[in-house]
């Protein structure tokens, strides 16, 4: 049973099987992606951290002579992410934003049975099927989304500038003019942080019928 976690970030771990013959291609794809800026993902601003990792079937840690050797047919392609918002919206963004969809098609193309990031239903079924439940999750700032953090960091540097430009003996009227102008300028970054997200039931259920217990 998946433990539920509070806060604006939701963790997800997806492990898909991948035929070992695709390793060279996967290494090449990962190498190319390491040099891309992923501007679309940054603009969407809903992922705190993510990673893709190829675990070779014969390279799982073997730490004791008593440990049985795993005999697997497939490598593991591991995807972990911490995202903002409900699961459905996250997967929708994957499938419906062209730039993201194209990237995911490349990354998961070598995973067995991957239906493509579009259309949504088979894609969601695939992700849900290969998702693994978490036992423990900790987030240093559960009340903050990626946008909250980006706003706070931007505000922080502007606040530093304002504080540096405010002498201790400034005239009250002059201070009030600058203070109002400053608040006007930073108002878009002053939204509340810490509100807990309420998951809204989606008409297209996030757990497909055939996977419900």
């Amino acid at each position: 049973m998946q433990q539920s976690f509070e806060g604006k970030a939701t963790p997800m771990t997806v492990i898909t099987p991948m035929r070992p013959r695709w390793r060279p291609l996967v290494w090449a794809i990962l190498a190319v992606f390491r040099h891309l800026k992923l501007g679309v993902v940054k603009e969407l601003a809903f992922i705190h951290f993510a990673r893709w990792l190829l675990v070779k079937r014969g390279r799982l840690p073997h730490l004791s002579p008593r440990q049985p050797v795993e005999r697997l047919d497939d490598d593991w392609f591991v995807f972990t992410t911490n995202f903002n918002g409900p699961w459905d919206q996250y997967i929708d963004a994957f499938g419906m934003v062209g730039g993201v969809r194209g990237g995911l098609d490349w990354l998961w193309w070598t995973s067995r049975g991957f239906p493509g990031a579009w259309p949504m239903r088979p894609f969601k079924r695939y992700i849900r099927y290969f998702e693994y439940p978490l036992d423990l999750y900790c987030n240093a700032y559960p009340g903050a989304s990626v946008r909250d953090i980006a706003c706070a960091l931007e505000l922080s540097s502007r606040l530093d500038a304002f504080l540096a430009a405010t002498p201790p003996d400034e005239d009250a009227a002059a201070f009030a003019r600058r203070w109002c102008a400053f608040l006007d300028a930073v108002a878009p970054t002053l939204g509340d942080t810490g509100a807990q997200l309420q998951e809204i039931p989606s008409p297209h259920s996030k757990v497909p019928l055939e996977l419900r217990s």
Partner: protein, 195 residues
């Protein structure tokens, strides 16, 4: 790795858990119990100042490809630890061990190959053996945990001050600003997980 800001490091560790141990699988049950005993807000990771996000999960059955009926199964269960950190992994492990050595021994200490000794150095060496490399990482922002928490605290403080000074005359607004200036410059440190 142009997408990953410098201060961040990523830990992915897979540690085997013996299913056929002398106690008939009790180690796996003990690890599950140790993980279940900690809530999101009561986990020792909250005391690790360099940890952005940490997850632990037991993988005891691998899902086959859809339609695959070959029956391939895992001979060991695996404890997966995924962490996004500031600075080095060893600093995080040291902090974790210092915070709650019993948690370490109740989880990784039950895994195959963990040495029967106490000390952070053994945790570091064990995780080094379990660590998986070669990942493609992504991080949304280039700030440390402390920077993020300070920035959020300043934002909250400024928001409260803006609301409090609304409608005040110039002198009263300036006095309120002066009273809050110290907190705006150096916000009170917040415990990880507190915001």
């Amino acid at each position: 790795m142009s997408r990953v800001p410098k201060p961040h490091s990523f830990l992915t560790a897979l540690s085997p858990i013996d299913r056929q141990d002398d106690a008939g699988g009790a180690r796996l049950a003990a690890i599950r119990a140790a993980l279940a005993a900690h809530t999101q807000y009561g986990s020792p990771f909250r005391e690790c100042p360099t940890a952005h996000m940490v997850r632990m999960q037991v993988i005891d059955a691998l899902k086959p490809a859809m339609g695959d009926t070959s029956g391939v199964h895992l001979r060991s269960a695996w404890l997966l630890c995924v962490a996004e950190l500031d600075g080095g992994v060893d600093d995080f492990l040291d902090a974790l061990y210092r915070t709650d050595p019993d948690f370490v021994h109740a989880t990784w200490g039950q895994c195959t190959g963990y040495p029967p000794y106490r000390g952070a150095v053994f945790l570091r060496r064990y995780i080094a053996r379990c660590r998986m490399g070669g990942e493609l990482p992504y991080a949304a922002f280039p700030a440390s945990v402390a920077q993020v928490q300070a920035a959020i605290a300043r934002k909250e403080c400024l928001g409260a001050l803006a609301a409090a000074t609304q409608g005040l005359d110039d002198a009263a607004a300036q006095a309120a600003f002066r009273a809050a200036r110290g907190e705006l410059e150096r916000p009170t440190a917040t415990r990880p997980g507190g915001l």
